[in-house]
Amino acid sequence: MPFHPHAQPNFRNLVIHPMWMTLKAALRTIPYIGSHKWLAGHRDSPSYHAQEAVMIDETTAKRVGADHHSVGQIYAADRETSSVVPYLERPVTVMYPYERLEDLEPWLFVPGNYNGRIGVIWETCTACKACVRACPNGCLHMTSEKRVNVLELAEDDDEWHGYGEELEVGGLAARRNEVDNSEHDIFNAHDAVAQEYDFGSIIDISGDMATVRWDGGEMEEVASSDLIPAEEDIVSGRIDIGRCMFCGLCMEACPFESFFMTNEYDGMTGYDRSELWFDADRTRVLPALHQERVDGELAKRAEKEQRKRAKKAERAEKAAKAEA
């Protein structure tokens, strides 16, 4: 037989049985009548539709405490009952945002790997823009700026002198140019302040000379003493959460464990699309929430700093020896 007997297009299967099933469903919603074995039963389990499942099992009860308001309540998948009227149905709709499921039913929680609102630990962000490149929807926007390392600019007898970056191959470098901003009218001028440094990346260092590719594109060999170490600093990081599809590729792209998809599902609403533009303060994740990862990142950087200082001390020692 090509058909299952219940797929035969006869009167019983097309009309009577569907109507019988819906009628039983309707009768089951009526208090007291609905829990009758004849209606609530199922071929395999006589009390399928009227089973009394206890809302909180023993393990959970131990965790939340015996005085929790849900202890002793009867729970069924799509309706709840009370001890006063045991078969009373009412909607179990949660009136979010006035009520939240996690508050009402504390044994439920949002899974940790849920891709929710984007969170960034800005403290450890290095503005590498890996996330921006990874985003398929183009919802991440980051502006960064090249700046000279101010610690390197410090005077020789200054407390912080020598703690800045060093010139290294692959790093950034700056050179003071001829621009003079002393006449710039900061209060009335409409144009931006001109950049007082030329920036470029160091291709090679040999002896006192460094090969630099300036941002304009030309290569030049410059004396290292003319160069100041520079770095790329983040100016603003904005996220158009309205375009985000929560794929999490940005999180995977981040090499510094600064970028997270949190498991929070709210706080992403607004009366206007412009309110879905998240500035840094709306994506900030406090380091305390991811302390382990932040600690790891900071340890990595501390180690680098230590290595640098050791190297510097060694070099200073060598120089002193040479002088002597």
Partner: protein, 514 residues
């Protein structure tokens, strides 16, 4: 016909009193009967229309509430209460701003209701839902007024005509549909004394006017200049040919059985002949139900609308109040179908088992009704002293209900059947309804006509049906129904069980009994 709710008599008396004392006093006194008659007809038309509109409030309510039950979904049954009285101690305060303290009574009432029916419970899980879930008889009240909210919404919406629509036809089509729908009710009696017009050919007129709306649907579908609406309109006309002919033949069988084309006489025939037509023509009842569902374009015959395939079918381009009115017209047609079924097959306004209740039925006059009310009051007062007196109370109470109540109850019950069908069956395909109409409904309706003719010619003795005949017909129908209902090949089902249980008390993979 001694129904105490003699609306037509009262209106006629008032009209004649007014006419007699105005026109009758003037030199046009000879026209006073004509004026009184005109007044009566106008007032009765108004009363019937008002009755229809007010009692139709129950129709969308049944639709929403009953389908919520059928779909095992309770949200629709809890509504509006918080709008009225607020939650806990919190409620609206607009009445505090009414000048001179005129809003005070509303505040007191609100406070009272808030305390009495506002939801507060010691059980946290009950209290938490506040007014969203309500337990008690009051669940009946919320939701009835949704229709007014809907009206407000529709009325305040913009009226948009598509740029490339045929504007004239687009505007006229709703009027064709709505006007012809309202005209149906001109001949539908809501009781023995609540009707607007009583023509000898009322049945013919009504079936004719019922068939106009699909034409308006086709106009609307064509004029909207949209492929979905056009398809909807074409489908409407296509299915019109399939069900209209069986419908008319079925109605004809009722007319033949009752010996009249007058709707009032058809009901009177059922009252006096000893049984309802459904027990004589169960096949006719089934055919009328099916073809009427097709006529009012409800599931499973709602192909012209078919929101799964055709957006909203021929409705697609209508919005705002036009859409609301078309929707109201749709429900009016369903309501009219239910009322007509009650009239043709369920004895109209007759009390069920009136013969068994004996003395009164619903056909008592005002004096007998007064006596019955007095008896009920007496029995109620003495119910503690003489409990035996209270035993016949419910039956006594039933007997004083006017025919209007029974009429409405039957119609509403039939509408629940419409809703039940809607929740259970699938929308059928265009070719399926054509095949069903031409190859099943049409031959069956002719068989039904033959049965009706045979009954009228050879069984009807001129005054009463021999009760063996309806009993026999009903028994045969029930047996047929049961045979068709258990029509499943049990031997084929054996061995076709699923290898796993899809419904179980226990979590997956813990069952050991299979």
């Amino acid at each position: 016909m001694g129904d105490w709710l003699n609306v037509r008599g009262w209106v006629g008396d008032i009209s004649f009193f007014v006419s007699d004392n105005t026109v009758g006093m003037s030199r046009f006194w000879e026209y006073k009967y004509a004026v009184a008659g005109l007044m009566t007809e106008v007032l009765m038309a108004t009363i019937v229309f008002a009755t229809m509109m007010l009692t139709m409030l129950a129709i969308p309510w049944i639709e929403r509430k009953f389908i919520a039950r059928l779909m095992d979904r309770r949200g629709a049954t809890t509504s509006l209460r918080s709008l009225w009285v607020g939650e806990g101690g919190h409620h609206a305060d607009w009445y505090d701003n009414v000048p001179f303290g005129l809003g005070k009574p509303i505040r007191w009432l609100n406070k009272f209701l808030n305390e009495k029916v506002g939801n507060a419970s010691d059980i946290h899980s009950v209290n938490r839902v506040k007014d969203r879930g309500y337990h008690g008889i009051w669940f009946l009240i919320p939701g009835l007024f949704q229709a007014f909210a809907d009206f407000t919404k529709f009325a305040s919406k913009e009226w948009i005509v598509p740029a490339k629509a045929d504007r004239f036809m687009f505007e006229v089509a709703p009027f064709i549909i709505i006007a012809s729908t309202v005209m149906i009710f001109a001949f539908i009696p809501f009781g023995p004394h609540i009707w607007a017009a009583n023509s000898d050919m009322s049945l013919l007129f009504m079936m004719a006017i019922f068939g106009i709306a699909p034409l308006g649907v086709f106009f609307a579908g064509w004029a909207s200049n949209n492929k979905y609406t056009l398809l909807g309109g074409i489908r409407s006309v296509a299915q019109l040919t399939a069900y209209e002919i069986p419908l008319l033949i079925t109605v004809l069988s009722v007319a033949i059985l009752s010996g009249s084309l007058n709707i009032l006489e058809i009901v009177d025939f059922q009252l006096t002949s000893g049984t309802w037509n459904i027990f004589l023509l169960p096949l006719g009842g089934a055919l009328f139900l099916i073809t009427m569902i097709a006529e009012v374009e409800r599931i499973p015959f709602d192909m012209p609308e078919a929101e799964a395939e055709l957006v909203e079918g021929w409705w697609t381009e209508y919005g705002g109040m036009r859409w609301g009115l078309l929707f109201a017209a749709e429900y009016m047609r369903s309501y009219a179908a239910c009322l007509l079924f009650a009239i043709f097959f369920l004895g109209g306004w007759e009390t069920p088992f009136a013969d068994i209740f004996g003395l009164l039925g619903s056909n008592q006059d005002l004096i007998l009704g007064g006596i019955a009310i007095g008896l009920i009051g007496l029995a109620f007062i003495l119910r503690n002293v003489l409990p035996a007196l209270a035993a016949p109370l419910p039956i006594l109470f039933l007997t004083i209900l006017p025919g209007l109540v029974w009429m409405l109850l039957k119609a509403w019950l039939l509408f629940t059947v419409f809703v039940w069908i809607r929740a259970s069956l699938h929308r059928i395909r265009t070719d399926q309804i054509l095949e069903f109409g031409w190859r099943w409904l049409l031959p069956l309706s002719i068989v039904n006509l033959a049965i009706a003719t045979w009954l009228r010619l050879f069984v009807w003795n001129g005054s009463e049906w021999p009760l063996a005949i309806p009993a026999l017909i009903t028994a045969i129908t029930l047996v047929l129904f049961i045979i068709l209902g258990i029509d499943e090949d049990k031997s084929q089902i054996q061995g076709r069980e699923r290898p796993y249980s899809i419904q179980s008390d226990s979590p997956a993979s813990t069952r050991t009994d299979r």
